[in-house]
């Protein structure tokens, strides 16, 4: 790269102290003036961390940042704003009750006589920005009346108002409909045309091709490729993103597929603030003794599927059956009574209660079994906890808060608890995310044990290696839709699944393909 690049980040390394995850490993990242530069990668590839460092939300452990050839230190978003760097976050930071103008000027409000908020001045200035950049929206509209696409525009206006030259957009399309995405791209192209530089983070390869000039691919905290978009095709990008298969050595006994244990029929999940359904006419069957893996990039419905199956979120349409019985409207309490076992992705806040003791965490779903007249039978509790700590080799006093354990041990406690319930069905979501190799392997062995016992397993994971190593059947979610259902044969390649995940292929076109707008 030429030395007079607009932005250069050199040797950026960042390790999060909380979980010791190395999010960025000596990353070099360069952006030229007046280009739209896409950053792609799977979940946890380090894209967002890199952008947070650029925007001053995180401090790197080492490395430096050069803007127009001059070294800069960015300690906070305020520093970034001063340097002309603005960021649109994935989740909008707008106050619905305020008008567009009020939201835009928030934090740097124009004032009258030093103390009074100059409302007219705010409207005037924001309208001027809107006019200058050729947008069409009234600054006096309350944000609560806007569509998601318009809210995003407000976020962009917000950073333009702060006179940013470098705009960072973190997964800007994840909540938009196709038309809104198209509009956004027109806007971005227009901004580039008038001299702005844009960095866009995305998992969607079609969008990379549609909008960017150059693309940086990240994987596991490292930059693996930088290409001119015109010279690279989506398949190659997909291969670069997912990388080579890591073969786990696990013996999977031949599949003995039993009865259907869990079935989803035409399940739709809508969200009132989002125009695109989160789950789009989903059909899924899990048989006894079978591991069904659900793959997909985050933001495509994996988390929502987890919530629905875990009984924490009601579906908008469709049915869920357990052993042929309709469980669509059952609450988590009732599902637990039917033996639901569920290892959630969010193990720190959903899967455990950090200030409660290991013991208290272990009995959350089974504590009814240890009661006599509403009073705990201390010995029965102790026996239960002892048997779990023994079986899962969890060391230490079970009376300490679970938050004092390591991530791997917390996950072991959760696993021990969930496997203790008498069940024929269990949901795992991201079971090894952020864990060390030994803990991950322990968990894989347990999952295969469960399968051997003839229990139906639903494994939701954005880690393809994990899914390929464990599953009998593999389904892929893309934009809330099921785009593939594949038997996990030895010839099933990671590249192929990757293409489904990135939306480059789909096997069930037309099935709920049309996106339905929700009337405001």
């Amino acid at each position: 790269m030429s030395s007079d690049s607009y932005l250069r980040m050199q040797g950026i390394t960042k390790q999060y102290p909380e979980n010791k995850v190395l999010a960025n490993k000596r990353v070099d990242f360069t952006v030229e003036e007046n280009e739209i530069h896409a950053v792609v990668g799977e979940n946890g590839a380090g894209k967002t961390t890199l952008m947070k460092i650029l925007y001053g939300l995180e401090q790197p452990d080492s490395g430096r940042i050069l803007l127009r050839g001059r070294e800069v230190r960015i300690h906070s978003p305020l520093d970034a704003n001063r340097l002309g760097i603005g960021m649109v976050h994935q989740h909008f930071r707008l106050i619905p009750e305020f008008t567009i103008a009020e939201n835009v000027v928030l934090g740097i409000e124009p004032r009258r006589r030093g103390i009074f908020f100059d409302r007219e001045g705010a409207v005037r200035r924001v309208e001027e920005v809107i006019r200058r950049y050729g947008f069409a929206i009234a600054a006096t509209l309350p944000v609560s009346r806007l569509t998601v696409g318009q809210m995003q525009l407000v976020e962009i206006i917000k950073i333009l108002y702060r006179e940013a030259d470098l705009l960072i957009l973190d997964e800007p399309t994840s909540v938009l409909t196709e038309q809104q995405i198209h509009k956004l791209f027109v806007t971005l192209e227009h901004l580039r045309g008038i001299g702005k530089t844009i960095v866009i983070i995305t998992h969607k390869l079609g969008e990379v091709k549609a909008v960017s000039q150059r693309v940086t691919v990240m994987r596991k905290g490292e930059v693996v490729a930088v290409r001119n978009t015109a010279e690279v095709d989506e398949r190659e990008l997909s291969r670069l993103m997912v990388g080579k298969s890591v073969t786990f050595q696990f013996e999977r006994e031949p599949l003995h597929r039993g009865r259907v244990v869990l079935e989803l029929q035409d399940v739709v999940l809508r969200h009132k603030r989002q125009d695109h359904p989160l789950l789009d006419h989903l059909d899924l069957k899990v048989h006894a003794g079978e591991i069904v893996g659900v793959a997909g990039v985050s933001g495509n419905g994996l988390a929502e599927l987890e919530d629905v199956v875990g009984g924490l979120r009601r579906v908008s349409e469709g049915r869920m059956l357990h052993d042929g019985m309709d469980i669509t409207d059952l609450s988590a309490v009732q599902l637990r009574a039917r033996g639901l076992a569920y290892v959630p992705a969010d193990r720190l806040y959903r899967g455990s209660s950090l200030h409660a003791s290991v013991l208290e965490n272990m009995i959350i779903s089974s504590h009814h079994d240890f009661l006599r007249g509403g009073i705990f039978q201390q010995q029965a509790v102790a026996r239960f906890v002892d048997s779990l700590t023994g079986k899962f080799s969890i060391d230490g006093d079970p009376r300490v808060p679970i938050g004092t354990l390591s991530g791997g041990n917390i996950q072991k406690v959760i696993l021990a608890r969930e496997l203790a319930s008498q069940t024929d069905f269990i949901v795992f979501s991201e079971p090894t995310w952020g864990l060390d190799v030994a803990s991950a392997e322990f968990i894989y062995k347990k999952i295969l044990d469960i399968r051997r016992q003839g229990i139906a397993v639903l494994l939701i994971s954005s880690n393809l290696d994990e899914i390929l190593a464990l599953c009998d059947t593999l389904v892929v979610l893309y934009r809330g839709r099921l785009v593939a259902s594949l038997g996990n044969e030895s010839d099933l390649s990671k590249e192929l699944v990757g293409e489904y995940m990135m939306g480059l292929r789909e096997d069930f076109p037309g099935r709920g393909g049309q996106t339905r707008g929700v009337s405001p």
Binding site: E18, N19, G310, L312, S331, A332, V333, L335, R336, A337, L340, Y342, P344, L348, Y349, R350, G351, S352, S353, L354, H355, A356, E360, I363, I364, S365, H367, H368, L371, G374, I375, F376, Q378, G396, D397, R399, V400, P401, G403, T404, L405
Partner: protein, 349 residues
């Protein structure tokens, strides 16, 4: 190793509290030296006064009794992460209802009558706080605000009854008629006002502790208090545990009112329970919401109160100065407790 770390935190907490106590007493001494012309006498009565005779000592413990109940009420709510700021009204209304029942009962009501009055006081508090719980469950109304507002309104109603329809014209005070002496709690430490309800308070603390740590409901309440998302995931009916802790909290407050009437006041005087509700919050904070810790915390609070009273009686300290010294100590202790509590809530990853 991990265990010692946890034990260490507890020890650090206790050491921290002792240091704060030392500092606050030192500050109090400095204030007294500055404000009093006979500082030695004042200091003596402020800190030692409550222990100089049976009368002071007994009355100090007696002051602690309603604070134990209100402190427990707050601890139960806070442990469950619901907020009951309506303590003042709940205590006051509980006291009035108990008085009304005891006045209405025939002369020979005796035991059952007393129990009935206490039950009614308890029920009154439970209903008042329970309303806020229900509002929260049904419409997600902030229980902190609603309990405060309901309580503020209730105080005026109680005032109306005490000064209006129920006022005893023969009495010089704004108060109802006195309840029959057969309903007075038995004094156990004459000549002080300390009565048998001290035992009730200690029992209540033990019972609440048992409830919170050894029963199904306590476990579910605490789990909901620590992490609602986790509790919902684990199959606990979390909406129940917005209402139940409020009801319990209100019940304990109502009981405080009933006990104060039957033990100490024997008539519902206007604003007799003034401060009991708010001070319960302070007591719970000092006790870090531990039901057993509420006992010493309430006694400590009462000790500060008794010391101030003794100093006023025996030296040149005015009410205002005593109140300033008392509140300085109190603010420091509360701040320390609050700080520890917040650090605990934030804690670990």
């Amino acid at each position: 190793m991990k265990r010692t770390r946890w034990g260490g935190e507890l020890l650090a907490g206790i050491v921290g509290l002792l240091i704060t106590l030392g500092i606050s007493f030192a500050v109090a001494v400095v204030l007294i030296v500055l404000l009093s012309r006979q500082p030695l006498t004042t200091i003596y009565y402020f800190f030692v006064g409550p222990f100089t005779n049976k009368y002071y000592f007994g009355n100090m413990l007696n002051t602690a009794i309603p604070l134990v109940f209100t402190g427990l009420g707050i601890a139960v709510a806070f442990k469950s992460s619901v907020f009951n700021l309506g303590g003042e009204g709940q205590v006051y209304a509980g006291g009035l209802v108990a008085t009304v029942i005891l006045l209405a009962l025939p002369e020979t009501g005796g035991y059952p009558g007393g129990v009935l009055a206490l039950a009614a006081a308890l029920g009154t508090g439970a209903c008042l706080a329970g309303m806020s719980g229900l509002l929260k469950m049904k419409w997600d109304t902030d229980e902190l605000i609603s309990s405060f507002l309901i309580s503020s309104a209730v105080i005026f109603f109680v005032n109306y009854f005490i000064t209006g329809p129920l006022d005893d014209p023969a009495s010089s005070m704004l108060a109802t008629n006195a309840i029959g002496s057969q309903y007075h709690f038995l004094g156990i430490f004459p000549p002080s006002k300390l009565d048998i309800s001290a035992v009730l308070a200690a029992l209540a603390a033990g019972l609440v502790f048992f409830l919170m740590y050894y029963t199904h409901w306590g476990y579910e309440m605490r789990m909901c208090g620590l992490n609602r998302e986790f509790s919902r995931y684990g199959g606990i009916n979390v909406s129940t545990y917005v209402v139940l802790p409020m009801i319990l909290s209100g019940a304990l407050h109502g009981l405080a009112g009933g006990v104060a009437i039957m033990g100490t006041y024997h008539v519902a005087v206007k604003e007799f329970s003034f401060g009991m509700g708010w001070n319960g919050i302070a007591v719970a904070l000092i006790a870090r919401n531990n039901p057993l810790g509420v006992l010493p915390a309430a006694v400590f609070f009462a000790y500060l109160d008794a010391g101030a009273k003794a100093a006023m009686l025996h030296s040149d300290v005015t009410f205002e100065i005593a109140a300033v010294v008392q509140s300085v100590i109190f603010y420091l202790i509360t701040a320390q407790a609050l700080y520890g509590y917040m650090r605990y809530r934030k804690g670990s990853p």
